[in-house]
Symmetry: C2
Subunit: 253 residues, 2 copies
DNA sequence: AATGATAGTGTATTACTGACACAAGAGTAA
DNA sequence: TTACTCTTGTGTCAGTAATACACTATCATT
């Protein structure tokens, strides 16, 4: 929560530069040590967590805004982003309304307005991210998808919708290029799928199917160093991967 | 295109009642005589066609706004609606900007603002629709999907995106309840699928697969009156249909 | 009663999915 | 060095779904 002074400054700036009534919230998925992670922010002097988000500059394309916001929170450029839903319940920002309504008159108070928020989800390589709080936040950090904190506003719903969308997309799009390091083993990739879907998959069938998609290159060298049989390393075949992204897998009719 | 007087009145009302910078555009699909149809509007004194659209009342949920807009254009309540994308290119309303910029000063000119538009597609029973122009339009009518006119703004893109989404959804959701009359024959339903997908399907395999979904009831009576063998009539099993809508078909992992 | 057009249905082939088991490699410890 | 353990790589078989294809049934018309 902002102090009155901070609020006032922020609102003046926001009214000047941002489109009113529209915000962007991003669900940033990462994958680390076999666990699915989401990037979250904890606001100063408030309980509850937020998704990284922000506003749209008046002349800015939406996707560019999402990229800008994520660049600020992660340090990353060129993030894989997918717009998935607009959340527009008139009551969705009620908490903010209650919190800020007494600090500034409605007319100049950015946060007592209604906001529609455009939901994006992002897939990123966990290790590349440098979580950076925004000016409202005390903390920006990865949270385990299995162990989520309390959310503010409707951010739990946004996260759930993103996850549902991701799971659905898994069925007709390749995924992983943005979540895995350049080189990885088949068991590691399987773990990613298992984590996203929250279920066990058969090792042999997973491999067969995955290879069947034709988006993987097996590298010559295996991964050394483990205490067991050295697994092969794979990388994505970018060309086929992108083709699969646009055309989708098989898919019925 | 509006006259100056009309524009002025409209803008005053709009500023008062609608959220700025946000619009809704609907792609209304219907199916008639074996052809896929889209509901379009032709504005007075302008070349080119628009999708039915409108704005969001300040306290109104998005979905309700889409319903309200479609109720006005079609006479229908309770339309099947699916939000599919937000279009936000800052240049997307350039045509409007050029058209209206000289009529009113920017400050009070609703139409020279930037608009993000939320795209919904709707599936309706062609025969139930009573196409009704809005106050800007001379004509509201069904157009054949294979024979589309010139569009204004980015409405060709919006339509294409809607169609792509619909085709994709065909693979994991039932469709047809909203597009077909209550009772229909298997060949008629097949024709719907063929029309949406723009490709021929095998009669026998289509039937087997469709019945396999378990969302159809075969009625006792056949359709009489044709010059040929009387086909069976089917209706959708609402309960199973809705279950399939939420759970999706099979779907991979 | 023969014709023409369309509807209903069965079957063989192939591809895919899911369940399962065994062999190979790499380190570890005797 | 050898046996052991853990993990990876791969083959097979059965059940299921997808594809391709051809015949019979029915109605209206002549």
């Amino acid at each position: 929560m902002l102090t009155k002074k901070e609020l006032k400054e922020y609102c003046e700036n926001a009214r000047e530069n941002y489109l009113p009534h529209i915000s962007i919230d991003c669900v940033v998925f990462g994958f680390h040590e076999g666990l699915m992670k989401v990037l979250l922010l904890k606001v100063k002097n408030e309980g509850g967590w937020y998704l990284p988000g922000g506003f749209l500059l008046k002349p800015e394309p939406i996707e560019m805004a999402a990229n800008r916001i994520l660049k600020e929170r992660t340090g990353l450029d060129e993030i894989f982003l997918q717009q998935f839903h607009v959340f527009g319940d008139p009551e969705r920002s009620k908490e903010h309304f209650e919190m800020y309504k007494d600090l500034l008159p409605a007319k100049e108070n950015w946060f007592t307005n209604r906001f529609l928020t455009i939901g994006y989800y992002a897939l990123v390589d966990f290790c590349d991210v440098n979580p950076t709080p925004d000016q409202f936040s005390a903390t920006c950090s990865w949270c385990d998808l299995n162990d989520l904190p309390e959310f503010k506003l409707d951010h739990a719903l946004i996260l759930k919708t993103a996850l549902d969308t991701l799971r659905l997309q898994l069925n007709y799009q390749p995924i992983g290029y943005n979540l895995m390091p350049k080189e990885f083993t088949m068991p590691e990739l399987q773990k990613l799928y298992e984590t996203i879907l929250d279920k066990k998959l058969d090792r042999r069938n997973f491999q067969r199917r995955m290879l069947g998609f034709g988006i993987l290159n097996r590298l010559e060298k295996p991964r050394k160093g483990g205490a067991h049989k050295a697994p092969y390393l794979y990388s994505f075949d970018l060309e086929n991967y992108k083709a699969a992204l646009t055309e989708g897998f098989k898919g019925g009719w």
